[in-house]
């Protein structure tokens, strides 16, 4: 075949039949793969292997920036280090002061909730992870972390930085994990306005600096500067972690819904280190485990599988209404779907009182 140069006159048959035949085969294969991946999630293993295969390349791409950062750190001047040290010490003192108060508050809170003793913190274990500096799809808000199933990372795990929520893991490989950011348009995080307790859903707006709150009625009690914290519904993020701050509220008399924009607190653009978190499953502030979603979290360490709804002390018997119906989306990438159902349910009835928390009426 080499001797004939271009081989212009000969059919391109060769091994696998004509190009048309082979194209049909590959197209069929692609469609089958897509169907399996989309519908059945049968391909987690395949994806796992492919992600493992891709990781060396990703690390190679990441290495020049990493080397540059290492060089910078190595050759930092004495003054810079001293300044940083002083800053860190001041920060640590500040945190210690706050922590002193925290112990007291946690105990008081425990008493108020009628529990026997002070609660332990909801976060059980933290794992620092570095962001691998590569470009995933530019159309989507995704990150790659250098921790994977080998470190016990599981699908749908919350990712935070020192200021607030960043996102959750979507695809976990053996040594790496892909994170969907809260600012991705496909991601929705259930939040609570800290000032009023109003619950709603924050949907990503597609750029790193804003979230939208599309499901608030026009008369909702919300204003610029309000802090949004995670509401603990949804089964991924625990209750009470800061998410975003409202930066713009636009009310239009002819629109039934207010247009609210919030800026995420986490600095997704400038971070290089983030935290993966494991939560105490039996803690009241822990994310409610999704009922009947156990088939979805196959990967990850066996201890991190959804627990069979531990007795929750106060909440279990009388099925606390806001908690029960907002059954969390089992698959992280389908997160907006229930939100949209919610919108459909909420929009025809504009003057919903603020207290009728929107997520609570989502699913029948």
């Amino acid at each position: 075949m080499a001797a004939f140069g271009t081989g212009a006159g000969r059919p391109l048959g060769g091994r696998g039949g004509s190009p048309g035949f082979r194209f049909t085969l590959y197209a069929l294969l692609s469609v089958i793969v897509m169907y399996l991946d989309q519908r059945g999630h049968y391909l987690e293993q395949v994806r796992y292997v492919l992600q493992a295969a891709a990781y060396p390349l990703q690390l190679a791409v990441n290495s020049p920036p990493a080397a540059w950062r290492w060089l910078q750190e190595t050759f930092q001047t004495r003054e810079a280090l001293q300044a940083e040290n002083a800053r860190l010490r001041a920060g640590a003192r500040d945190l210690e002061l706050r922590a002193m108060r925290y112990e007291d508050l946690a105990r008081e809170n425990g008493e108020l909730r009628g529990l026997r003793e002070a609660l332990p913190p909801v976060a059980d274990r933290w794992l620092p992870a570095e962001i691998v500096n590569i470009q995933l799809s530019s159309l989507r808000q995704r990150l790659l972390l250098n921790r994977g199933a080998a470190n016990g990372v599981f699908k749908g795990q919350a990712v935070l930085d020192d200021r607030g929520l960043i996102g959750q893991t979507t695809h976990v490989g053996p040594w790496s994990a892909e994170v969907i950011l809260i600012t991705d348009p496909e991601h929705a995080v259930p939040v609570r306005v800290e000032r009023t307790g109003l619950r709603t859903i924050a949907v990503g707006a597609g750029d790193t600096t804003s979230l939208a709150l599309p499901y608030l009625p026009g008369n909702a009690d919300i204003k610029t500067g309000d802090l949004l914290v995670s509401s603990g519904l949804g089964g991924v993020f625990p209750e009470g972690y800061p998410v975003a701050r409202v930066v713009e509220v636009h009310r239009d008399a002819v629109q039934p819904l207010a247009q609210v924009r919030a800026a995420p607190l986490a600095h997704v653009d400038s971070d290089s280190d983030v935290m993966l978190v494991w939560f105490r499953a039996d803690h009241p502030a822990a994310p409610a485990p999704p009922a009947g979603a156990s088939g979805d979290l196959k990967s990850g360490s066996p201890t991190m599988q959804p627990q069979p709804a531990a007795p929750k002390g106060h909440a279990a018997p009388q099925a606390d209404p806001p908690r029960a119906p907002a059954a969390p989306p089992p698959h992280p990438e389908r997160a907006p779907l229930p939100a949209q159902e919610t919108a459909a349910a909420a929009s025809p009835a504009p003057p919903v009182p603020a207290a009728a928390a929107v997520p609570a009426q989502g699913r029948p």
């Binding site: 190009p19 082979r22 197209a27 692609s30 891709a54 799809s137 159309l139 989507r140 389908r334």
Partner: protein, 157 residues
């Protein structure tokens, strides 16, 4: 073309993949052409035996792992334009660079339309018009890419 273009093909595909995932500032990232797609197109036109559909499919699968919401999405789109390029390679190969760039533009548009439709069907729609920018930059960068890839294959008749 010769069988010995295989190693060069794989090497160029690897380089293209690296260029695809290299972190860039946002505005540059929007302009970034789909290097791997261009490379696969080049080899489908100029060495359809060495490259061809298998390369197209597996390169697409690799792209899926990096950036696809669904496995098989890029694989299908890239297989399609690879097939067209392989089938028409004799007609495309001897056209002047400008016309080739136009053909590449059409192929990239087709690729992106397939991706757009699959994105929509699978429930991960991206409606931003920025997603179409790379088809234009890809067509513009085609002549230099083709020149670089053909470097060293000078004895072609």
């Amino acid at each position: 073309m010769n069988v010995d273009s295989r190693p060069r093909l794989l090497l160029s595909a690897l380089v293209a993949l690296i260029l695809t995932v290299l972190p860039l500032p946002r505005w540059l990232d929007v302009l970034r052409p789909a290097f791997l797609v261009l490379t696969v197109l080049y080899w489908s036109v100029n060495a359809p035996r060495a490259g061809g559909l298998a390369i197209g499919f597996f390169a697409g699968l690799m792209l899926d792992v990096f950036q696809g919401p669904v496995l098989g999405e890029h694989a299908l789109a890239l297989s399609l334009i690879t097939y067209i390029a392989v089938r028409e390679h004799q007609r495309i190969r001897f056209k002047p660079a400008i016309q080739q760039a136009l053909i590449v533009f059409a192929a990239l548009m087709m690729y992106e339309v397939v991706l757009f439709m699959i994105d929509g069907w699978t429930g991960h729609p991206v409606t931003s018009p920025l997603r179409w920018v790379h088809t234009l930059s890809g067509a513009l960068i085609w002549p230099p890419v083709a020149a670089i890839l053909s470097y060293g294959a000078g004895h072609r008749p």
